[in-house]
Symmetry: C2
Subunit: 336 residues, 2 copies
Amino acid sequence: MSKPKITSLDVAAKAGVSQSAVSRVFSGASASKSTVQKVRDAADALGYRPNVLARSLITGQSKIIGLVVAYLDNQFYPDALERLSNALQEQGYHILIFMASGQGTDVERVVGELLDYQVDGIITASVGMSDDLTKRCEAAGIPVVLFNRGQDDTRLSQVTSDNRAGARKIADFLVAAGHQKIAHISGWEGSSTGRERKDGFIDALAAHGAELAALADGKYKRDVAAKAALDMLKSTQPDAIFVGNDHMAFAVIDALRHEARQAIPGDISIIGYDDVLMAAWPSYDLTTMRQPSNRMVEATVETLLAQIVDRSVAPQKIAIDGPLVVRGSARKPKDL
Amino acid sequence: MSKPKITSLDVAAKAGVSQSAVSRVFSGASASKSTVQKVRDAADALGYRPNVLARSLITGQSKIIGLVVAYLDNQFYPDALERLSNALQEQGYHILIFMASGQGTDVERVVGELLDYQVDGIITASVGMSDDLTKRCEAAGIPVVLFNRGQDDTRLSQVTSDNRAGARKIADFLVAAGHQKIAHISGWEGSSTGRERKDGFIDALAAHGAELAALADGKYKRDVAAKAALDMLKSTQPDAIFVGNDHMAFAVIDALRHEARQAIPGDISIIGYDDVLMAAWPSYDLTTMRQPSNRMVEATVETLLAQIVDRSVAPQKIAIDGPLVVRGSARKPKDL
DNA sequence: CTGAAAGCGCTAACAT
DNA sequence: ATGTTAGCGCTTTCAG
């Protein structure tokens, strides 16, 4: 019913030591065996735990990392979130999470609030940063890591997969399998990730003397991608589609199979990007580029913490390579 | 490079007012038009924003809600997380998220850390609370809401769907469709949600003079559920399976279709529970009980905030009803 | 309405 | 090694 709020002072009184002695014990500073014992006992008896917020006020370290995330319906992100949370927890950090459903202005507000909480660092998943925002974070001395999103700004760190290389592997695979009319449903044009995969794909196709039979912006949305695929089928009739991420690829497969009665890969090959867990489910059995979220998360945490510990550490741009995971949704080259 | 840390004192100096005047302006206390103006201008010029942590220290309100979540691979939870985050953000609260992958001891540690952050309230998604933990939260005056998990403890609030009623609807539907050998792959026996659905299902079947042809604990895991389904097919050969949640139901469908070459619902009917987004995807087209996550989230936030605002408000047990969403994975009763 | 002063719970010099 | 003292940045009496 009541809320006693046990403080270090209470513990000190009970243990018969000074308040700073209590502080020392809990912040791991020097203290004699006997003091530590007395303090621990008193604390346990009282159920005392240090107030992290009060500590933050003075140390200037909140041990809180702000995470801004846009979509959670694409399984890649819940998965990454889980890994990020675990990795950071291990280092004594915790995640304050913010959804920035919309674009621009939403991110603006959200990052502002994050700053108010004195977070030690910020990770944005699939969300960009305005120049103004970047300035504010820099001014506040808060390092930022863009996760799965690139941006031409040396003040920002970023961790992505090697999108161009990935797209190239897909193009190589599709061409080797003898596809003649290859189409692409890209990720949102406004995202670096979407653009890089598209450009890389087109370039790699060109290197084979081929070119895109059709192109549409799927905007990372299921319905948009599905409609694009159906439209392509009516007009261009491609024999293969590289879809900008798995999340959209599932929608494309569903639409093609169930609305257009296409056999996959008999009538048309589909390749995705990300290799989310669901890609391995038999219903989809999706051939896709793996984005190694475990390694991406490792790199993200490492860079972020390095910058937190030492402000002079420079932001990094890290692109992680992954394999093409060959499954059943795309025709395979003969020599495989 | 540097980290100037603009404080209310800086703003006060620039605005030519006292520090407390600045505080008043930002905490919405009384202040004259002119003061407000001067302070706002100075603050904007300096890029000042109040330090929420320092504020918390004195107000005793951190505006942080701790969220403990176990699985993020079951789409129901990312979806709920997104809604929770948005709903709380609207009320000026933010989510500090913790993954409690394992059981018991993990939750213990995690909730302890949550308490250290002086969270104003705690939501646990699909995670139970030990008695000791409950005591500590109560002692600290921190209200707790169990989301999608029940527990016989009057100190805890909980928001679930009406699991027994839901299971009954499924039993009624299956019996009406003329199924003779009805099996159940339950959620984890150790969870109230899993037990209630199972018990409700058995009772409802009994009311029809029927009984379970087979029963297995799917433990909320894809592989466990899939194996259970395959085993049942070999032994009992059920003509319908109610699977304890959609997440497992997808695995069951995959296994039955692709490993056992069963037609669904031709050979066997499958019904799930939750109605996650994926249930509507054509590949699964799953008949399932809807757990209205929007209403569950509303109820969760409402109860939690009510208790935060007024400590004397009693914890609540809320069970929300939802409809059976009829799709194509289960044979339909003739008269439908 | 406004400024001065006290203090939230803690850490970090500074002495002893 | 331990206690004393001074704040971290803010809100909140309390005078005026």
